[in-house]
C-alpha cells in the first residue's frame, strides 16, 4: 500500500480499435476500499476501460498503476498483475466443460499452486457464503443466469484479488435475477473490497458507490458522489443521460 492509499490510478489512458478512439485520455484514481461506479451510454468506453486495467487490452498511451506499481510498462508480468485484479464479465464466461467447483479452483490450483484439498475447501466455503453450496458439482449450463454470475464472482474472489472489476455483470440477466447478484456485490462492498463497477443499474450505483463517474465518448466527463451526480449534475451531457435513464424507468 502506498502513502496516499491509492489502489488504482489511471493517467491519460488512450485506446483505439482501428480508427475508432474508444478511450480518449482517462484519468481516474480509486482509493483503497472505494467502490467506484462507471455509468454512461453503451459505447462510452466503460468495458474497454475495465479490460485495459486487467491488461486484456493493451493501451495506446497513458499509464496505469496498481497499488503504486505501474502495470503498463514494458516487460511487466501480465499474469502476475491479473492475479491481483479480478474481473467479472457481462456474459459470465464460465468454463462450460468444468463443474462449478472446477471453475473456482482452476486458477487457485494452477496459478497459485494451492494443494487441491485446500483449494477445494476454500472454494466450498466461498460458494457456501454466496448460497451456492448445493451447486458445487453442477455444470454451469444447469444453473440460472444469476447463479452463473455468482459463480463467476466467486471464481474471481477465490484468487483473493486486491481489486475487483465488474463489467455490467447484471446486464445479461432476467430482471428477477438481478437482485441476487447485486446483493453479492453489496456484500463485497461492505467487506471493504475495492471495486470498479461498470453498470446500468443506477439505483445500485446510488446506494453503493462511494463515487460515480460519468463516461462520455471515451472520457470521464464528470465524477462525484452519487448524490452529486444524480441530483446536481453539472454537465449538460450527464443531465441528458440521466433524463433518458429516468424516462426508461431505471432510476
Amino acid at each position: 500500500m502506498n502513502e496516499n492509499g491509492s489502489a488504482l490510478r489511471l493517467e491519460g489512458v488512450r485506446k483505439s480499435f482501428g480508427s475508432v478512439e474508444v478511450l480518449r485520455g482517462v484519468d481516474l484514481d480509486v482509493g483503497e476500499h472505494e467502490v467506484v461506479c462507471l455509468i454512461g451510454a453503451s459505447g462510452s468506453g466503460k468495458s474497454t476501460l475495465l479490460r485495459c486495467v486487467n491488461l486484456l487490452e493493451r493501451i495506446d498511451a497513458g499509464r496505469i498503476f496498481l497499488e503504486g506499481d505501474e502495470i503498463t510498462r514494458r516487460g511487466v508480468d501480465v499474469n502476475a498483475v491479473r492475479r491481483r485484479v479480478g474481473i467479472v464479465f457481462q456474459a459470465f464466461n464460465l468454463f462450460p466443460h468444468m463443474s462449478v467447483l472446477q471453475n473456482v479452483t482452476l486458477a487457485t490450483t494452477r496459478v497459485l499452486h494451492r494443494p487441491r484439498a485446500e483449494a477445494e475447501a476454500e472454494a466450498t466455503a466461498l460458494l457456501e457464503r454466496f448460497g451456492l453450496a448445493d451447486k458445487r458439482d453442477e455444470y454451469p449450463d444447469r444453473l440460472s443466469g444469476g447463479q452463473q454470475q455468482r459463480v463467476a464472482i466467486v471464481r474471481a474472489l477465490a484468487m483473493q484479488p486486491e481489486l475487483m472489476l465488474l463489467d455490467e455483470v447484471t446486464s445479461a440477466l432476467d430482471p428477477e435475477l438481478v437482485g441476487e447478484v447485486l446483493n453479492v456485490i453489496r456484500e463485497l462492498a461492505e467487506t471493504g473490497m475495492t471495486m470498479v463497477v461498470a453498470t446500468h443499474e443506477m439505483s445500485f450505483a446510488r446506494d453503493t458507490a462511494n463515487r460515480v463517474c460519468f463516461l462520455d465518448a471515451g472520457r470521464i466527463l464528470e465524477q462525484g458522489s452519487a448524490e452529486e451526480i444524480f441530483t446536481r449534475p453539472r454537465e449538460a451531457r450527464t443531465r441528458q443521460f440521466l433524463e433518458r435513464i429516468i424516462a426508461a424507468g431505471r432510476l
Binding site: R51, N54, L56, V78, N79, A80, R82, R83, V85, G86, I87, F89, A91, N93, L94, F95, P96, H97, L106, A107, R110, V111, Y139, P140, D141, R142, R155, A156, M159
Partner: protein
C-alpha cells in the same frame, strides 16, 4: 425398403448364381477366415499406433498454426506448409515415397522396416487432416473463454491446456472419428510396400483359389473394427451432453 429392393434385384439378376459362388462361398469363407483375421491383427496394430501418434502430433500442428504475433510467424508458416503438403499428396504416393525412399537413404539408427515407414506415412498424412479438424475446434471456442482464463492469471499455455483444447476436442470428436475410420481403412495401403496385413492376405487367398470370398472376409473385418469406434464416439458425445446441459428434450 430401398435396401430390400436392391437385395431383390441383385438376388434375381442373371449373374447372381455365379457372383454368389465367387463372392459368398461359405466353405471358403470359413477356411480363409482364421488366416485373414490373424493378418488383420497387423491392421489393428498399424491403426492403433498411428491413431495414438496422430492425436498428439496433429494437436501440436494445430497449436503451432494458432500461435499469435509476428515473432512466431515462421512456426505458423511451417504448420501451413506441412498441412498443404501432406493433404495435397495422395496417401498411396506418400507410402511409396517413404516406404521405398527412406530405407534407401541408409540412415543409421533409423529403422528400415516397411512397416515402420508405412505407419509413418499414415501418421504424416492423417495428421494434416486431423490438425485442420483440431484447428476448427480451437477456433470455435469463443474468445471470451480465453479472456476469462487469462484474466484469472493463467498463462497462454495453461489457457490452451485447461480451457481451450478440452472444449475444442469435445466439439470435434465426431469429425475426428470420421478421419480415424478413414485411417483404419487406409491401413490396407501399407500392404503395397510389403507387410502382409488383411487385404494382402486376402489377395493371396484369392489368387490361390480364384474366388473372391476372402475379400468379403476382409470387408467384414474392417466393418467390425469401425463399429466400436463409432459407438465410443456416440457414447462420449452423449455423456458430455448429459453432464453439461440443462437436460430436457429439445
Amino acid at each position: 425398403m430401398f435396401f430390400a429392393i436392391v437385395v431383390f434385384v441383385i438376388v434375381n439378376s442373371a449373374g447372381w448364381p455365379a457372383v454368389r459362388k465367387a463372392f459368398f462361398d461359405r466353405k471358403l469363407f470359413v477356411d480363409s477366415f482364421p488366416e485373414i483375421a490373424h493378418a488383420f491383427l497387423l491392421n489393428i496394430r498399424i491403426f492403433c499406433i498411428a491413431e495414438a501418434l496422430i492425436l498428439v502430433f496433429a494437436l501440436g500442428i494445430a497449436i503451432l498454426r494458432g500461435l499469435p504475433g509476428p515473432v512466431l510467424f515462421p512456426f505458423r508458416l511451417l504448420a501451413v506448409l506441412y498441412t498443404d503438403l501432406f493433404r495435397g499428396i495422395p496417401t498411396i504416393l506418400v507410402i511409396y515415397i517413404l516406404g521405398f525412399g527412406a530405407p534407401a537413404l541408409q540412415l543409421s539408427g533409423v529403422p528400415n522396416s516397411p512397416l515402420f515407414w508405412g505407419v509413418t506415412a499414415l501418421v504424416l498424412v492423417y495428421s494434416a487432416y486431423v490438425a485442420e479438424v483440431y484447428r476448427a475446434g480451437i477456433e470455435s471456442v469463443h474468445p471470451s473463454q480465453e479472456a476469462a482464463s487469462r484474466s484469472l492469471g493463467l498463462s497462454r499455455a495453461q489457457t490452451l491446456r485447461y480451457v481451450i483444447v478440452p472444449q475444442a476436442v469435445r466439439r470435434v470428436i465426431p469429425p475426428l472419428l470420421n478421419d480415424f475410420i478413414g485411417l483404419q481403412k487406409d491401413s490396407a495401403l501399407v500392404a503395397l510396400i510389403g507387410p502382409i496385413e488383411a487385404f494382402r492376405q486376402s489377395q493371396i487367398d484369392v489368387a490361390a483359389t480364384f474366388n473372391y470370398t476372402p475379400y468379403m472376409v476382409t470387408a467384414l473385418l474392417f466393418i467390425l473394427a469401425t463399429i466400436p469406434l463409432a459407438r465410443l464416439t456416440d457414447w462420449l458425445v452423449a455423456r458430455d451432453r448429459r453432464r453439461q446441459s440443462a437436460g430436457g428434450q429439445l
